[in-house]
């Protein structure tokens, strides 16, 4: 998925995925048989990454303290 994102794709659409085989973070588009994932905007992604980093750091601190 990162590869799609790296080439600039804003979303990925997948066709003909058997029911139940797609991961939860894919959105099934009605009864079309298509699934889509829309990447978050770059700005949101930065915030998302920053939160992840802080969370990871706090977990590392906790692990170190233990």
């Amino acid at each position: 998925m990162q590869l799609f994102r790296d080439v600039g794709a804003k979303a990925v659409v997948a066709a003909s995925v058997p029911a139940g085989s797609a991961p939860v973070n894919w959105q099934q588009i009605g009864d079309t048989g298509y699934y889509a994932h829309v990447f978050p905007e770059k700005r949101e992604q930065v915030v998302f990454n920053e939160k992840n980093r802080q969370q990871s750091e706090s977990i590392s601190v906790e692990i170190n303290q233990h």
Binding site: G8, A11, V13, A14, A15
Partner: protein, 573 residues
């Protein structure tokens, strides 16, 4: 074995259906009225069946349709470099450009394409009617008691025409073959006229225009134009005046086709009238990876100058966003992606392709018009899914030949139609060299069956005339029933959906499934021109055209299938 003695026949001919055969004027008028009535009914039935089939398949489209729409966009904005594509001919995209003058929204664009296809079908129907008119006029040269009633030929002709339209080139497919059919019917109609000795200056100019439009609709018509012109020259005989007129036809054809050849060659940097032959040769004979993502796997076939960029090996993923700002670049201009391919002569493979295609064609002709259960897909692509049975057309043809054995020289009858059979043989031969599908040969197959039946059916008595007329009508009925049964099934399914309340699919909108995907992307914030990725069979990513987004990378279907949706399971990052 005579069907009925001629004395018995002559006795019955006077009392046939209460019409006094001694009054030729009355009989002629009655025949003409009957002919017109049958032609009108046949046209209405044909229209109804085509409309129902189009409506039933309104959710379906074709990958080339996306390309033609993108080409139409390029023509409208004057982007000639992008519009002049080697593989695809320009006439159909030009019609799309005209269609876009009505400003159909993205939601209704596919419906507009289907409406345009229906309009083209109506033009083809009119062209076929002209052909039938000339066909029947040629029949008039035969003495009235030695020919079959016009209505039987009309019923056979329109049934075969409708069958070829629905089964071989379904009107929901955005392909230029229907335009080619319309032109081919008119060219054959002209041949019948010329054979009767009529060539005016207007007709010769008209022939040139038909040949020129044919080339602009589909590249195969360029070599075929010379075949058609050659046949016309032979038909006109030794009259110098008529030959001049045929030269005028050739000049008009060149006048229409040369400007496009020059600009196409200029845009592609080499002389060409089309790239279809070169690419199909590479795909079919040299077995270079078909259709997209050729990476130059086998160096013997050359190295791609600008291939799609492989960004992942296992499963394979490709990026191709930089070359064209279109919906799906790999299928927009295959000439670009296959630049660098080297063609090598491979006689063994060529022979095997010819044998394969000939076999498919013979099976197709032998099984025509096919069973009710034959899938449209099987007829669309002749290589697959054809029942190994003998069809009704061949059965009736053989029955008539055997009944007439010893009385009619089958070969002489067929040879008399050389002016139709030579072009048909030429086009089938050209396609057999590389690749053909049902839609490529739809008009030729209809004309072939018509002239074959015409060559072998000569009545000897009123009784035999009735029997052979019944045989022709049966052939027509069987062809029509196979269509009507299929359409009936579709109607029942549609009615069932409505009854259970599943009426979400709009009554008239084409491509509704893809529209839902496009709408989802719009609602998620994607705007026109933005890049997206695709996993699966991107050729049919009609949603991308509707959403006006550009597919810039894909994991093809085989990759997604083979690796158990690995790409999807990795989840968004």
């Amino acid at each position: 074995m005579p069907l009925l003695s001629s004395t018995t026949a002559s006795r019955r001919v006077c009392t046939n259906r209460g019409i006094n055969t001694l009054d030729p004027n009355l009989r002629s008028r009655t025949d003409r009225q009957l002919t017109l009535r049958v032609a009108a009914i046949a046209c209405i039935v044909s229209c109804c069946l085509v409309v129902l089939d189009l409506w039933d398949n309104r959710d379906l489209f074709d990958p080339e349709g996306i390309t033609f729409l993108d080409m139409a966009d390029a023509y409208r904005r004057g982007d000639w470099r992008a519009a002049l594509v080697g593989l695809w001919s320009p006439l159909y995209p030009w019609l799309f450009s005209l269609m876009m003058l009505f400003n159909p929204s993205a939601q209704w664009e596919f419906t507009a394409v289907h409406a345009l296809n229906f309009f083209i079908y109506l033009v083809t129907l009119a062209s076929f009617s002209v052909f039938m008119w000339e066909f029947l006029r040629a029949n008039k040269d035969t003495a009235s008691n030695e020919r079959f009633p016009d209505w039987s030929w009309l019923v056979l002709g329109y049934s075969l025409f409708t069958w070829s339209t629905i089964r071989l080139m379904p009107p929901h497919l955005p392909e230029p073959d229907s335009i080619v059919c319309a032109l081919v019917y008119l060219i054959f109609a002209m041949f019948f006229r010329i054979r009767r000795g009529s060539v005016t200056w207007g007709e010769s100019i008209c022939l040139g225009v038909l040949l020129g439009l044919g080339y602009l609709a589909k590249a195969i018509m360029f070599p075929m134009a010379f075949v058609f012109t050659g046949v016309t020259l032979m038909l006109t005989g030794r009259s110098a005046n008529k030959r001049y007129k045929i030269l005028v036809a050739l000049s008009v054809f060149l006048l229409l086709s040369l400007p496009y050849i020059i600009v196409l060659s200029n845009a592609n940097g080499r002389w060409m009238f089309s790239d279809a032959g070169r690419l199909n040769y590479a795909w079919e004979i040299n077995q270079v990876k078909k259709w997209n993502h050729w990476q130059g796997e086998e160096t013997v076939h050359g190295t791609p100058v600008h291939p799609t960029r492989k960004i992942y090996d296992n499963p394979p993923m490709y990026e191709f966003g930089t070359a064209f700002g279109v919906t799906y670049p790999p299928w927009y201009d295959p000439s670009y992606w296959y630049e660098g391919v080297k063609m090598t002569v491979d006689l063994q493979r060529q022979l095997s392709v010819i044998v394969r295609n000939t076999k498919a064609l013979l099976f197709f002709l032998a099984t025509s018009p096919g069973a009710v259960t034959t899938s449209d897909r099987g007829w669309y692509n002749l290589e697959f899914g054809i029942d190994r049975t003998v069809g009704s057309l061949l059965t009736l043809f053989c029955a008539i030949v055997l009944t007439n054995l010893g009385r009619v020289s089958v070969f002489r009858g067929i040879a008399e139609h050389w002016f139709v059979l030579v072009p048909i043989g030429a086009v089938l031969g050209l396609y057999a060299l590389l690749h053909f599908e049902g839609r490529y040969i739809a008009a030729y197959v209809v004309v072939l069956w018509m002239v074959l039946f015409r060559s072998i059916t000569i009545p000897y008595s009123e009784e035999s005339k009735r029997i052979f007329t019944a045989a022709l009508a049966s052939a027509a009925l069987i062809a029509a029933i196979t269509l009507a049964a299929k359409t009936g099934q579709a109607m029942v399914h549609a009615a069932r959906y409505f009854v259970i309340g599943n009426t979400e699919a709009p009554f008239l909108q084409s491509g509704y499934t893809n529209w839902k995907v496009a709408k989802y992307l719009h609602d998620a914030g994607l705007r026109a021109g933005e890049p997206v990725g695709s996993a699966g069979w991107t050729f049919s990513a009609y949603w991308a055209r509707m959403a006006r987004v550009h597919v810039v990378a894909e994991a093809p279907k085989r990759a997604v299938g083979r690796f158990g949706h690995r790409i999807l399971r990795q989840g968004p990052s």
